[in-house]
């Protein structure tokens, strides 16, 4: 269970691949110890870069930077968020929907084969979860982004937006009740030959959360209610299931 914590050092020096990075950032959102450790490692790394100082940039760079900033206004600060929506879900209702939805899974497994493509590289900003050109925004703004919305049994709805070219997907909830204390929402991608693979936790359904893993090869995405630490396979009620068409060919068709 402590295995994810061991990634803190590699994360702080940008030595994780994209999938690990996304996974660890989701962990960071719920682990103050790792946040503190990463911050201390970054301070350490900043000092280490002193060894590389002394390489003077050309004066033309200073002129370009200062000319560049005069063209753009700094972003406004992030304002405090609204309080969480109270828990109103009906467990009984959820369970019945889940049973039905679980029966659908084998059908989805039998979907057409898809082409596996290597994960791309994303340039996005380490210090932010939303706004700017975060990965979530990149997916949403991708020319081939396709969204599917599903109602959630306990109220509200969940929307998944996937970009086949970026091979990633992001989930966004609207008026979805907060997970009960001691539980969390967990995201899943159904990968060919592997079944449901964890795509990370979604502790706050109102925040855009990027799914870990290749969303282009996945045949379905799902969200379930799991114990706070997350599960290796879905154990709790599934609150949303999104069948995904094969998108790995990377075509931009809308």
């Amino acid at each position: 269970m402590s295995d994810i914590h061991a990634l803190s050092g590699a994360y702080a020096v940008d030595a994780l691949d994209d999938a690990e990075r996304t996974q660890f950032e989701q962990h960071l959102s719920v682990c103050p110890e790792c946040r503190a450790e990463v911050a201390s490692f970054r301070e350490t790394a900043a000092l280490m870069s002193d060894l590389e100082a002394g390489e003077e940039p050309p004066a033309s760079l200073r002129a370009s930077v200062l000319a560049g900033i005069s063209q753009v206004r700094p972003f406004p600060p992030e304002t405090p968020e609204t309080p969480e929506t109270p828990q109103v879900a009906s467990a009984a209702h959820r369970t019945s929907v889940v049973t039905l939805r679980r029966r659908m899974l084998p059908t989805l497994v039998a979907a057409a084969a898809v082409v596996l493509l290597a994960l791309g590289t994303f340039a996005w900003h380490p210090w932010q979860q939303g706004g700017g050109t975060s990965l979530a925004d990149q997916i949403r703004q991708a020319p081939d982004a396709v969204s599917v919305t599903e109602p959630v049994p306990g109220g509200g709805k969940l929307t998944i937006i996937r970009s086949a070219s970026l091979k990633r997907a992001v989930l966004i909830g609207s008026h979805v009740p907060a997970a009960k204390a001691g539980t969390t929402y967990q995201m899943w991608l159904q990968q060919p030959g592997q079944g449901m693979v964890s795509a990370g936790l979604m502790p706050d359904a109102e925040k855009p959360t990027v799914l870990t893993g290749d969303a282009a090869t996945a045949r379905a995405a799902a969200v379930s209610v799991e114990p706070e630490a997350g599960s290796a396979t879905p154990t709790g009620p599934v609150i949303a299931l999104f069948p995904l068409k094969s998108g790995a060919s990377g075509n931009g068709a809308a």
């Binding site: 940008d14 280490m48 560049g68 972003f75 340039a123």
Partner: protein, 204 residues
């Protein structure tokens, strides 16, 4: 040889006092659109930012692009900087490093990195400005701290941070079982952090 460039003014003693508090103050002023404060921040930090980009990318032209993009991001996102979560220099260098690493990894596909590898041991011109003197004092502390690491920890940290390799690549480069390098990187950073006396930053 000595590079002629303006030496930054001493941090004003009335506000914060330490160079670190001064940089944080400059960033805060920049978030309100103060271009002069940002220019001062640039002068105080650009040799470290550019030096780091050159070290990771081993290509001055690309390092210039990455440095410029980083400062522009820094300007636009200055309001997100939170002094309670870390220092201004660490915030800036995190942005530079991330961009440099992203670029070096995407350049790998075109084989550039191998071609540029020969520049790894590129000599750095000696700089005699006051800023460089301060930096070399810090560099001395860092060298002392690095001596606390085992050779293997140091190799792993340097390949990851300065080389821009993933921990999986570091494991392969060092003939380690996959999964071992990440532990080594973390252990190395912990030792170095403790030797440098960097406190853990309180997180909300």
């Amino acid at each position: 040889m000595s590079h002629l460039r303006p030496v930054p003014n001493d941090p004003p003693s009335e506000e914060g006092g330490s160079p670190s508090a001064h940089l944080a103050d400059l960033l805060k002023r920049a978030s309100r659109g103060d271009e002069a404060a940002f220019a001062e921040l640039y002068d105080a930090t650009s040799s470290r930012a550019f030096g780091l980009a050159v070290r990771v990318l081993r290509d001055r032209a690309q390092a210039e692009e990455v440095t410029q993009e980083s400062y522009l991001d820094c300007w636009r996102h200055a309001s997100r900087f939170d002094v309670t979560k870390g220092s201004a220099i660490s915030w800036l260098l995190t942005i530079v490093h991330r961009k440099a690493v992203d670029r070096v990894r995407s350049a790998e596909a075109s084989g550039r990195r191998d071609a540029a590898y020969g520049h790894r041991e590129m000599t750095v011109p000696h700089d005699e400005t006051a800023e460089a003197a301060t930096a070399s004092l810090d560099a001395g502390r860092v060298r002392t701290a690095l001596a606390h690491l085992t050779t293997k920890q140091r190799e792993a940290v340097e390949l990851a941070f300065l080389g821009g390799y993933t921990h999986t690549e570091v494991a392969t480069l060092l003939d380690l079982p996959i999964g071992t390098a990440k532990t080594r990187i973390r252990d190395g950073l912990i030792r170095m952090r403790d030797a440098l006396g960097v406190g853990e930053v309180a997180q909300a």
